[in-house]
Structure formats: structure tokens, C-alpha cells
Amino acid sequence: MSTNAAPAGREIRFEPIDVGRWFVWGFTALVFLVLPLIFRSGFAITLLSQMGILIVFALSYNMIFGQGGMLSFGHAVYSGLGAFFAIHAMNWISAGTLPLPISLLPLVGGVFGALFGVLFGYVTTKKAGTPFAMITLGIGEMVFAASLMFPGFFGGEGGISGNRVVGEPFLGITYGPAIQVYYLIATWCFVSMVAMFAFSHTPLGRISNAVRDNPERAEFLGYDTQRVRYLVLIVSAFFAGISGGLAAINFEIVTAENVSAARSGGVLLAAFIGGAMFFFGPIIGSVIFVLFAIALSEWTKAWQFYLGVFFVVMVMYAPGGVASLILMNLRVMKYRLFGRMRDAYTGVLLSGAVLLVGLILLVEMSYHLTLNFATGSRTKIFGFGFDGAQPEFWVLAVGTTIGGALAFEAMRRRFASDWGAVQEQIEDQVQREQRA
């Protein structure tokens, strides 16, 4: 923002942005409403529900990671413990000892998530940066180990299960059918999204950005950085707990896996792949993650391998996540330079597809050989039959991979130089506009 703009001029500018914001949120609500009408199958509803749960979780994670600069490896502690309390509350509701509608159950998860945020956050937020990351990992492992130690509360290996269909139906809502649960999740997800977006604009949300970018300077301004981290972590743990409560309602079972390191790692992957530097990044990331974890895992056992490779490629080449890729391409389109990138894109995408096919052949054949040995060496990939015991298939796979890799590297270089040229031109144009 230019420094010489008059304060009065700034205030006027808020109004059109607000209209835009109403439009964006209205559109989001509409999408939540319409999606299950388009994708009607039971599998699609399952996917959508899980996406909603993960969106809340990933946004809450990004509150500390992207906005607060705290890389945590133990965020599942808050969602998982919230989920455990929610499932116990659900059982108390079934037993008639707790007068609470199921619709408000996520709040139970949220409150207990926040309580554990108060407890663990006191220790973890004493540090920032890498030590914070390691301590959250330690706390996560501690809670996971403890969860197997107290079978009374955590249910041991089998976990705690409940039944969400309790009490009298209210306006015909019983939460028996999956679609009703989806709309409950969608409502909570939408409300949480709005609340978390609003939080990012509060003074606390803003100062957490400052603590992320320059803790020393924030301290000189008179803010206690440790306290800011602590408070943000508590708020984030609250929303994580809400997602845990939603998970308890959706799955009707909570196990130690809910507090595991795998869960904490998963939310980190989702937030980063989507784009931690943008508010809406984790939403995209959650959708991608659920597609990998549930849709792709239907097809292949190696989905975690693909997810890991995808993540590492993103870290190396697009640290801003998918959100930054979208925004940068939108910028290129805005300046009408996309036509110049078309050839470069075609080359990169085609050669990348060849490389991907080669890699998939290699991975699937090896996986099939080691893990499904009993069923023989033949397997189907992309609908074609492959035999891992025949060398010609390996020659084909290795050849495709090497050919794809060579072509991709050449195309990538060309893409990089074209991309650099286009970005330079845009920068030039921006500067010219500013001068004008």
C-alpha cells in the first residue's frame, strides 16, 4: 500500500471490498448447499463430509502455522482429545445424563480442545521456530502413548464408539442418514470458516502475523510474543476441537489414531499443499488431501507414496502451495500474457504426464510384487494387464520413466525461462501503472 494515500481515501475503499466479501461468502454457502445435490452417491457424500471436517481442522492448523508462523507436528492432540470428549458427551446424551442436542456436540469438542490448548500451549509456546516444532512432536507422542495407557477413557485399541441417533427427531432431523450429517458438518464448517476469517482480522490475528514475520520488532512494539503465540494457539485448539467433535459425529467412533502423529502430519500436508500463506489455501489442500486419502486409496495401496512425492515436489518447486499457483496464473491471465505461456505449459504437462505414467508403472509393479505376492505377479494398471515377473514390462516402465524425466527436465527449463520473462513483463507493467 502506498504511504501517501490520505486516510479518508482509504476508508472509502473498504466498501466495495465488503460487497465482494459478501459475494464470496454467499457463493461459498451456496457451494456447500448445492454440492450434495450434484454428487449424489453415498461415496460422494462421505467424501464431502470428510472434506468439511478436514477444512475446519486445516484452517485451525493454519491459524498457527501460516498466520502465526508456528510449525506444529502435534496439532491432532487438540482435535483428537476434543473428539474423545465429544464421543463421551454423545454417550452421556444417549444415557440421558447430558441435556444437549447432538447438533451442538462439536462445541463440546471445541471447549475441551481449547482447554488442552491452555494446558499444553503453556509449555509449547515458550519456544518458537524449530524447538517449537520438536516440542509439539514430543507432546503429540506423549498424548498418543498416554491414550493407550488409560483404556477407561480412551477405550484402548478399539477406541470409544457412540450412536448419534438419539432423542426425538427435531423437524425430521435424526442424523441417521449421511446427508443430514453432511449438512450439519457443512453448517459448522461454514460458521467456523467465517469465524476464523474474522479472527485473522482482529488485532490478535494481525499481531500474530507480525510475530511470525518479525518477532523482535513485535517485541519492541511492546507485545509479548510468547503470550501472542499462546493465545493464538488456544483459539486454534478450539477450532481443532470443533473438527474433532464433527469427526466424532460423522464416524461415531474415536480411536487413539485420532491423536496420532499420522493425523498431525496429515493436517500439515493439507495446509501446506493448499498454500499456508493464504487464508483459503488450506481449504484447497483439504479437498486434495481427502481425494488422495480416500478416493486414490480405493485405487492403489501406494497412495501415501504419491502423496509424499507430491508434497516434496510442492515444497521444492511451489512453496506457496496450490493457492499461489492459482493466484500467479490468474495474474498472468489478468495481464493477458497467458497465450505466451501456452506452449510452455503444453510441453511441461505432456512430458510430466509421461514421467508420471512411468513412475506409476514402476511403483505399482513393485508394490504388487512385494505386497500381493500371493495373488501372482500379474496386475492391472490403467486397465491394462502388467506382469512384474516379465522383464519386458520393466524395460517399458523404466524406459517411459527415463524418457519422461529427460523430456520433463528440458521442458521445465524452457518453462522456467518463459515464466521468468512473463513475470518480468508484468512487474514492468505494474510499475508503469503506478507511475501513471
Binding site: E141, T370, L371
Partner: protein
């Protein structure tokens, strides 16, 4: 607990602690030099075990003891050169995330190549059996061998770091990388060598730890979080601290496992009886052996509250 059991447990604890130090020393060296917390460090430990298993099925255990760490170090060098160096310009968090993603990939690769079940990686015949027996309890030869290797490695690191030219360059690069570069040393190469060396140490730990424990895809996750605890408790970037914390946590965990004593018994011994109706009964019933897995993390929390720098750390961050 009688004295012989105590002595054997102490020795077992020390051998486990020394193994932890082989891991945490590499992690500490890499961290203090490059500022990178190598999240995949335990994955290199696992690679060491699997490589050693594979090589030992071909040419036997003794060549594997040398070859596997070298191979792991080579993998580490490649990872540093083609992966970490690229993300270095974006700061420490992307570097940490890179190694985090790498740990994912390595676990999956190991499963692709060697399957999901544990592999039969065994202690070689000449090292099987007890080394000595104290009254009724015996101490396995292989544990002694582990301690010997770890101590040899400890001396070797110390000699390399303090007595050789490259060691001096490494030490100087720890604190003053720009000055070292200005003096004409290739600091990126020093980084690569340090990373390779650290991962090779992890690989060596895998070679001798893999058959002492179990070689399976979950072994990296099992030990990974413990070595992070060691590094934080000892003080980030302090080799001496890592050494003390490794031995402390190693002996603590080993002792906790053999002590079958609970809070309930403690209270009974002083004359208090807690019945099952007491809400604290579930907590007090747990024996020390049962809570052993969380002890390192409790220690971590306590250290952070009372001594945030770690036992021997100099920096707080």
C-alpha cells in the same frame, strides 16, 4: 531389585543410550551446522538397518557393517545436494518440511522394496549368546558389541572434529560460515559432507540397532520422536548435551521397564489403601513399566519448564 539385576539393567540402559547418541549426535551436528532439523534422520537409521539386512544376506554381516553406513551416507549426500540445497533459499521451515516429506517417502519406499512385515535381520552367530553372567542374570554379547562400536564412533568423531583439518573447517563453519567461505573453503561441500556424515552415523546405528531390536517399517517412527526429545533435553546444538541426555533417557527407559512398581503400591507401603471407587485409582494403578513410554516426554516438558535451554544448551530459541 538385587545388585546383579541392577548392574545388568544399567549396562543395557547404557548400550541403548549410546545407540541413541549415535543418532542424536548426527542430528545435532547437522542442526548446529545447517540450522536444519533433519526430520528424516530416523528414516536414515531405518535405511541403515534394511541395507545391512540386504547386504548381510549377500556377503555376510561384517562387510555390511562397513558398506551399509557408507551407502546411507551416499544417499544422504544426494539428498542434500539435489533436495535440501534447493529449498535452502526459502528458509528453515521449508527445509524441515522437505525432510518431513522425505521421511514419508522413505517409509513407503522401504515397504515397496522389503514389504510391510519385519525382515529376519539377525545377530551374527559369533556375537550370539551371553558375554558374562552375574549370579543369575546374563548380559548379551551383542549389547557389549553395540557399546564397543558406539564408543569407537564417539572417539572417532571427537578425533575428526578436533584433530583434522576438515574437522576444524566444520567447527568453524558451525559458527562463522561466511568467514570460512571468505577464506576459500567450499562451505556447501562442507555442508554436504556433514549431512552425509550425520546420516552415515544414523545408518551405522541402524546396522547395529536393527538386529538388536526389530527391523520393520515402523522402526523409524518409534525412535524418531525419542531422538528429538534427546536433542531438546540436551540443549539444541550441543553435542555434550546430546551425550548426557542420550545416556539419561536410555537408562531411564530401561530401568522403568524392569521396575514393576505403581503409585498404588507406594501408598500401600506407607499405609494408605486406595480403593477402586477413588477417581485416582486408574492413574495410581499404573506401574512404572506401563508408563515407561511417556517418561521421555514428561522429562521434556519438565526440562522446558525449569530449564528452557536444555541441560547443556547455550542458546534459547
Amino acid at each position: 531389585m538385587d545388585l546383579s539385576l541392577f548392574a545388568i539393567t544399567l549396562l543395557n540402559g547404557l548400550s541403548y543410550g549410546l545407540l541413541l547418541f549415535m543418532l542424536s549426535s548426527g542430528l545435532t551436528l547437522i542442526f548446529s551446522m545447517m540450522g536444519v532439523l533433519n526430520f528424516a534422520h530416523a528414516s536414515f537409521y531405518m535405511l541403515g538397518a534394511y541395507f545391512a539386512y540386504q547386504i548381510s544376506t549377500w556377503v555376510g554381516y561384517w562387510p555390511a557393517l562397513v558398506l551399509a553406513p557408507v551407502l546411507v551416507g551416499a544417499v544422504g549426500a544426494l539428498v542434500e545436494k539435489y533436495g535440501l540445497r534447493r529449498v535452502h533459499k526459502w528458509g528453515h521451515v521449508p527445509e524441515l518440511l522437505f525432510t518431513f516429506g522425505l521421511s514419508f517417502i522413505i517409509v513407503e519406499l522401504v515397504q515397496i522394496v522389503w514389504g510391510r512385515a519385519a525382515v529376519p535381520y539377525k545377530v551374527p552367530e559369533e556375537l550370539q549368546g551371553p558375554l558374562f553372567t552375574l549370579f543369575t542374570t546374563s548380559f548379551p554379547t551383542y549389547r557389549g558389541f553395540m557399546m564397543l562400536i558406539a564408543l569407537l564412533m564417539l572417539v572417532a568423531i571427537w578425533l575428526v572434529l578436533t584433530r583434522t583439518r576438515i574437522g576444524l573447517v566444520i567447527q568453524a563453519s558451525l559458527t562463522h560460515p561466511e568467514t570460512v567461505e571468505a577464506l576459500g573453503h567450499n562451505v556447501p561441500r562442507v555442508f554436504m559432507l556433514t549431512f552425509a556424515g550425520g546420516t552415515a552415523l544414523a545408518g551405522l546405528a541402524g546396522v547395529i540397532g536393527g538386529n538388536a531390536f526389530v527391523t520393520e517399517p515402523s522402526m523409524a517412527a518409534l525412535v524418531g520422536s525419542i531422538i528429538f526429545v534427546v536433542v531438546v533435553v540436551g540443549g539444541m546444538g550441543s553435542l555434550a548435551g546430546a551425550f548426557v541426555a542420550s545416556l539419561l533417557i536410555g537408562t531411564m527407559q530401561t530401568f522403568a521397564i524392569v521396575i514393576d512398581y505403581s503409585g498404588l503400591k507406594l501408598l500401600e507401603d506407607v499405609g494408605l489403601v486406595v480403593t477402586e471407587s477413588n477417581p485416582l485409582h486408574g492413574l495410581l494403578r499404573l506401574t512404572l513399566a506401563q508408563v515407561a513410554p511417556i517418561l521421555p516426554y514428561l522429562l521434556l516438558v519438565l526440562v522446558l519448564i525449569f530449564r528452557p535451554k536444555g541441560l547443556m544448551g547455550t542458546r534459547e530459541g
